[in-house]
Symmetry: C2
Subunit: 475 residues, 2 copies
């Protein structure tokens, strides 16, 4: 699998100098935007060079060895190119072209031809009907149609540690774009399309052992093999977050016309996630917003939360959300409340803790220490309004204290989303964009903690129907 | 009520030149930031002028008549000032000070003293424990602690037509901040605090007949008089959107410690909203995000939605959301699908309509006309990715076509929130920030349409338990 993300040499089949040729954009990205160090070849009828990639009419004409083939030729000619790849002993192929199993009986016949050759020669295939891969660390990327500025942006944060498997190209784009204004970055991204060979379980297994991947994010339109998914994911201890489309019949029908695949009963997917220790997401935006709770904060080991705010209304709003999410408002002992009152700035020392308009860093530090060392508190929901410049230092300090005390805080600044996103990007602090998102982050952090407990325990085979989720009515 | 938003003369009681005096910030806002045309007086012990507002020791020392008193003195002295206001024949008073019914028996006694005087003299009181009012049209504002830049921003969009009644100051700030990057603006805002006199029903009645108010938004921590609320709101035909904290016991407790008031059973509030034709909101962000569907689009008269996207994955995602929201995927007749196919750019002409990467404006116009004139379609959910500059023109054109054909579109651009907000602000197009928000906008548009039907009908007295909502499992 590593070869897909880190090939030594590449051929782009279907890259030519015709106007609007998508293959040419792949050559351009690999050769020019990414300055790929190894040889990159193009295959087209005229055997012409494309963006400085030497051109050949047949794959077998290429002189040197080739690690990876990227195919973006029309569906009808793809089986022939697969045969050429086999003859050239290329074992790793990305098929980006569409028109296969999502395209009726004719497409299905083409797919069958491909499968037969690939199986006979031990080839691994990614796609078809996909965007391929992006590896932000070595900057290898075989997406078509990518602009230079976007590529530069997407690979700028090369130290990212969230790896994605995404069944649709459109979701890849919104994910990369959204991470630009967040504190965590993408590591590897793979768009798996129709999954004729490599499927979600293969990718989970690979990301599970990939040393630079800390969190695995998935967008799925269907599941190819539920049993394989469960058995593979059960062995993976990293947080796995999955959004699946098709909760309703209408959604499933729309997804099926998009990337081929049988419609899965949504309840079965739900059950599979529970058995596999995969956290199912409620919205597509959670795919980029939630990983930061795992990467920037210690896990939430219990469900008792202290709410800390300088905007009284949000005490009530977040209390409602926490209870709905199956979490609990921590009960603070009288002596803890007295210590909070002693800081001299607290309007309300019972949880939620409502703070006056102080800008004293010492007061904030004292309060954080009191709450994070308190036995009745497992984690914080911090809602500090960005009303004064010192608040960003306060938030930075809170992040440090969380690590020092081994308890997490989900931080939501009750300001316009544009302002929150701006501060997050400029100061690299893990801010959530809504109180719902912050509460959900605590919920998934605790959920993953519970999953990791049973994965570490002896009993690695939970039975169908067993519930490893803590009580929750959803967000 | 008009006097609160448009007084001819004002006194700020408790404004002095002491450091950190909040009353002084009110004088500064009214006199300097807003260039208030009438006289503004200050009342303080030293009888000193504050920010060019002449100062007096007693309200009764002021030479000319006074329309409105704003009190921000300590709670203990407020009853005495109320008595002075009565003696001066001031009938409109804003009490911003806290420490009354939310502050235990002592505060409740002070509140009782105020009530007695006010009642005897026919005074109307706003608050206590509130921020007062902002009128973006004449720029009158008695909020304390407001910065010049914020005031300028908040009143810049003086033509706004959403009026708010908000029980908490913190929510006022996030609302104003959020509207800065949206296409609609605030008209009047009132923070009603403890509601010792003027309550939510009074404000609804006022906004209901206010000619410049098109949509009414509410943030409530409790309801003072449910029967009065229902009877008042039932006569109001404008869209009324209400977020109420306290859905859970913990939330209600937190709200009660913030602004005083009995805890209301949340189910009773739900029932009251249904009987009154008030749309209950699911999150605080909906208070600023949803009004634009009413102001920028025709109403959604039926529940059949056509989804139109150039990002295939979002066809499935939005179909799931529409069904969950109680809306329907429109069934397009074969001849409609043929006409869509004839544009030559459509991947999938069955709903959801999945478009290729065209940038032809004519194609977009043709598709919009086909869908908006189609009898099987009541409204659109448009999901155009901002991948090319022409897309913003496409969206502008769609808004025009919606008005021409009398059907709404909720528009979500599947891009990073920062990008969507930036385009919305710079191009003034009504974009929603998530697919959930766009679907919810269609849901509330249709809900309000159904409410307006029964309000226009003979039967204006729906019975308790009757359901005027269309089927929905929530967003």
């Amino acid at each position: 699998m590593e070869t897909f993300f880190n090939p030594a040499s590449v051929v782009v089949i279907g890259a030519s100098n015709s106007p609007f040729n998508l293959g040419a954009t792949i050559c351009r990205t690999i050769k020019h935007f990414a300055s790929f160090p190894g040889p990159v070849y193009a295959v087209n009828r005229k055997a012409e060079a494309v963006f400085d990639c030497p051109g050949y009419a047949q794959v077998t004409d290429i002189p040197g060895p080739v690690d990876l083939a990227v195919i973006i030729a029309p569906a009808a000619v793809v089986p022939d190119f697969i045969a050429q790849c086999a003859a050239k002993d290329i074992r790793h192929v990305v098929i980006e072209s569409s028109g296969f199993s999502e395209g009726g009986p004719k497409g299905q016949a083409l797919q069958h031809a491909i499968d037969t050759i690939a199986k006979a020669h031990g080839m691994r295939i990614l796609g078809p009907n996909c965007l391929g891969v992006l590896n932000s660390r070595n900057r290898f990327c075989c997406f078509y149609g990518i602009f230079e500025e976007d590529f530069a942006n997407f690979t700028r944060k090369g130290g990212g540690s969230v790896s994605y498997l995404i069944q649709s190209g459109g979701i890849v784009v919104i994910m990369l774009e959204s991470l630009l204004s967040d504190v965590v970055g993408a590591n590897k991204i793979v768009s798996i399309g129709n999954k004729c060979d490599i499927d979600e379980a293969d990718m989970i297994a690979y990301y599970g052992q990939d040393p630079t991947t800390e969190v695995i994010g998935m967008y799925l339109e269907n599941v190819k093999d539920g049993r394989k998914l469960i058995e593979t994911a059960r062995d993976v201890k990293k947080p796995m977050l999955a959004f699946k489309v098709g909760r309703t019949g209408e959604g499933a029908r729309a997804a099926m016309s998009h990337t081929a695949g049988m419609v899965n009963d949504d309840r079965i997917f739900d059950s599979a996630c529970r058995q596999a220790g995969i956290i199912r997401l409620h919205s597509i935006s959670e795919l980029h917003s939630l990983p930061k709770i795992f990467i920037t904060m210690p896990p939430l080991k219990g469900s008792r939360i202290a709410v800390f705010t300088n905007s009284g209304a949000f005490g009530g709003i977040t209390a409602d959300l926490l209870i709905a999410a199956g979490l609990k408002m921590a009960r603070l002992a009288p002596e803890v409340q007295q210590r909070l009152q002693a800081t001299g700035q607290v309007f309300n020392a019972a949880n939620p803790i409502d703070l006056g308009p102080t800008i004293s860093m010492q007061t904030f530090q004292d309060i954080f220490d009191i709450l994070l060392t308190c036995d009745e508190v497992d984690g914080l929901l911090a809602v500090p309004s960005l009303w004064h410049p010192v608040m960003i230092e306060v938030i930075t300090e809170l992040v440090k204290k969380c690590h020092a005390h081994g308890k997490p805080a989900a931080i939501y600044t009750p300001n316009a989303a544009a302002k929150t996103i701006g501060y997050r990007t400029n100061h690299q602090v893990p801010l959530f964009e809504s109180p719902e998102e912050a509460v959900r982050a605590l919920q998934v952090s605790h959920q993953h903690y519970l999953y990791s407990l049973w994965k570490e325990s002896e009993d690695l085979a939970p039975k169908e129907g067993e519930n490893y989720e803590f009580a929750s009515s959803g967000a």
